[in-house]
Symmetry: C2
Subunit: 325 residues, 2 copies
DNA sequence: GATGCGCCCTGAAACGTTTCAAGGCCGGAA
DNA sequence: TTCCGGCCTTGAAACGTTTCAGGGCGCATC
C-alpha cells in the first residue's frame, strides 16, 4: 500500500515532476540517461500514475460506459462483453457498467454520466426505432457508437449485423434442402432488428410469416398449432433461437422427429443452439468483430479523428442437425 | 455541452464553493433558504459534480473492479452481472470491467488497478485453491470480496453457494424417483467448486464417479460409453449442465428416451437447461442473492465498517422432465 | 567573440472538487 | 453592556497529475 506519487519519484530521481510526467507521456522529450534513471526509480517504487489526477487534468477518464441489456435480452452477452473489454483494453480503456440509481429513469442515468464527465464515450446496444438515447447523446455531443442501426434518428455512427442477409441464408439453406414452403415465427412488427430479419425472409405464396411474442413457451404454443394443421409446414424458421427451440419442443411433444419430419432453424446462435439435440441450425453474429468495430470507431472519435463510417457486418449460418441430415 | 462547474454554481447563487459542496454532501450544515437557492441554480444549470475531481480529493473512485471470466466459463453471467451492477448502483458505485493490457499478465492487471487507485475495491469470481489473486490482494490491502471460497489462503471475505448441498438435492431427488444406482460425471479433481459438488454426491457401492473434462462433446462421449454398457445406469448426474446435455445427446443418439429410459440431471441451471427437450433438471444458484451479498460486504469494508462474515448460500433444485415424468 | 539555435529541464499554473480552520452574526445569559 | 456559544458561511489548502512558457547550456555559425 501507500501508493507513491509522482513527487516521490521526481525527488528520488533528482528531477522535476514535469520530467517524470514526460518520461511517461512523451519519452522523446527526455534525454536517454535521465529517462533511464527515472524509469528505474519508477519500477523501484512500483509507481503508477493516479488515475483520478490524470483524468482531472487531461479531461479524459479512460472509461467507456455501457448499459447492460436486461437479463436474457442479449444472446451471446458474454462473448460480446468479453470482446468489448478486450478491444477497449487494447486502447488503454476500460468498460464501466452503469445502471439507473434509485429514482432515476434510464435516460437520467445517461445524463448523469454525461454531465459528470464520468466516461469518455458510450456504447449502446439493443437500439430501436426512434431511440431516445440516441437523440440525447447526439444533443449532448458525447462520443458514442451504437450496436444496431439508428436510421430514423439524426445520423450517428453504428455497427450492425445484416439480419436480412442472415435470414436469406436460412431460406436458401431450407430451399436447397427441398422445402419450398416455409413458415417464419417473427416478433410483432415494430422492432428494428426483427423487421430487418423478416425483410430477408422475402414474400411469396410459399412464405408465411406468423407474429408472436418471443420466448420458448410462445414458440412451443405456436409449434403445436402449426404442426397440428392438416398440412403442417415441413420447415419452420424463427427470428430468435428461443422461439425455434420452443417449436422443437412442440415437435417432440407430438412425436415428430426434428431434422427428419420437420426442419427448424433459429437466429442468433445462442449457447443453447449447440447444446440441444438435435443441434439447432442458426445464424451466428460475428460478435467479436462487432465489438472491435465499435471500439475502433469510438476511439477514432475520441482521438479527434474522423467520425467512422458505419459498418454492416455479415452473419453466417451454422448448420446443425435440426435442418436435416 | 460545456459542463458547468461548482464555481459557476456558487457565483450564480452568490455563495462560496464550499457552501455548494456542502449542499451536496452535508445538507444539514446549510441554512434552508441558502440550500434552496443553491439547489435551484444546480438544476437550472444541470450541474453534476465532476467525478475525477471528486475522486482525486476524496481518494475514492466509486468504481468496483471486476474481471470477466473467460467466455463460456460462467453460466448465468448475465444475471450475475446484472445483479452486481444493480446492487452496486444502489450504493452509488459502478462496475469497471478490466482486462490485462498487451504484455501484461492477469496479475499485472490487478496490480495496475491497485497501484493506480483505479478502483475502490474488487470482486473476484471463479476462485480456486491457492488463488494467487487472493494472496496479492490480501498483501496490498485493497478491499475485495470473492465469489467462491478461498479456504486455503489467508482468510478473506467470500460468498459461495453450497455445491455439496446442491448435489445432495440431486441425489435425493433421483433416489426418491427410484434410482438407487447413480453415475456422476465430474471434472478432474483439483477444482474447488467441482470437488465440493462431488463431496455432496456421497460415496457408496451404488454411487459411481467418473472424471472427465467439461463440455458438451465430452459429455456425449461419456454418455455413449455409459449407455453402451451391458447394464447401463438408469440415472446420471453431472457437475455442470453442458456435460449433462452431452449425455442427453448421447441418449438420443442411441434411441433412448431421456426421462423415461434414463434420468439426467445437470448443475448450474444454465439458460440451455430450460430450452432443451425434455427440460434438464438442474441446480440453480441464487445469483442475484450472491451479487447482493458480495456488494453489501464490499461496501461495508469500504465504509470502514466491520469485515463482513462470509456467507454460504443454499441452491435449489429445478426439476424438469429429464428426470422423469 | 558574439549570435543563434536546439535540446533538456524546471517551475508554476491549472484541472474541479472536498475539507477545515477561522470568522461574522445573532440571541441569550450574566 | 459585555460575553459566550451556536449557527452559517467563507477562503484557502490540498489531492496528483499534465502542460507550457521560459531558461540554461553547448555547439555551430558568422
Amino acid at each position: 500500500m501507500g501508493r507513491s506519487t509522482i513527487r516521490e519519484v521526481s525527488d528520488r530521481a533528482g528531477v522535476s515532476v514535469g520530467t517524470v510526467s514526460n518520461v511517461l507521456n512523451a519519452p522523446h522529450l527526455v534525454a536517454d540517461p535521465t529517462r533511464a534513471r527515472v524509469l528505474s526509480v519508477i519500477s523501484e517504487l512500483d509507481y503508477r500514475p493516479n488515475r483520478a489526477a490524470r483524468s482531472l487534468q487531461a479531461r479524459r477518464t479512460y472509461l467507456i460506459g455501457y448499459r447492460l441489456p436486461g437479463p436474457g435480452k442479449s444472446p451471446a452477452l458474454d462473448v460480446f462483453l468479453h470482446a468489448l473489454v478486450g478491444a477497449a483494453s487494447g486502447h488503454g480503456l476500460e468498460i464501466a457498467l452503469f445502471s439507473p440509481r434509485h429514482g432515476e429513469t434510464e435516460l437520467d442515468a445517461y445524463r448523469r454520466l454525461i454531465r459528470g464527465g464520468d466516461v469518455d464515450g458510450l456504447v449502446l446496444s439493443e437500439t430501436n426505432y426512434r431511440d431516445p438515447r440516441i437523440e440525447l447523446l447526439n444533443e449532448s455531443g458525447v462520443p458514442f457508437v451504437s450496436f444496431g442501426r439508428a436510421l430514423d434518428s439524426q445520423p450517428s455512427p453504428w455497427v450492425d449485423v445484416d439480419g436480412a442477409s442472415g435470414m436469406r441464408l436460412v431460406v436458401d439453406h431450407l430451399v436447397a434442402a427441398g422445402h419450398p414452403q416455409i413458415t417464419l415465427a417473427a416478433w410483432p412488427e415494430g422492432s428494428e432488428s426483427g423487421d430487418d430479419r423478416v425483410r430477408g425472409f422475402g414474400p411469396g405464396a410459399n412464405r408465411e410469416v406468423i407474429r408472436v411474442l418471443g420466448g420458448f413457451e410462445n414458440g412451443r404454443r405456436l409449434g403445436h398449432s402449426l404442426f397440428g394443421r392438416d398440412r403442417p409446414p415441413t420447415a419452420v424458421a424463427a427470428v430468435e433461437d428461443s422461439l425455434a427451440l420452443g417449436m422443437m419442443a412442440a415437435a417432440a411433444d407430438l412425436g415428430m422427429s426434428v431434422g427428419r419430419d420437420v426442419a427448424v432453424a433459429g437466429f442468433d446462435d445462442s449457447e443453447a443452439a449447440a447444446l440441444v439435440t438435435p443441434g439447432l441450425t442458426s445464424v451466428r453474429q460475428p460478435m467479436d468483430q462487432v465489438a472491435r468495430c465499435l471500439i475502433d470507431g469510438l476511439v477514432s472519435i475520441l482521438d479527434g479523428g474522423p467520425v467512422p463510417h458505419s459498418r454492416l457486418l455479415m452473419p453466417d449460418l451454422v448448420v446443425r442437425e435440426s435442418t436435416g441430415r
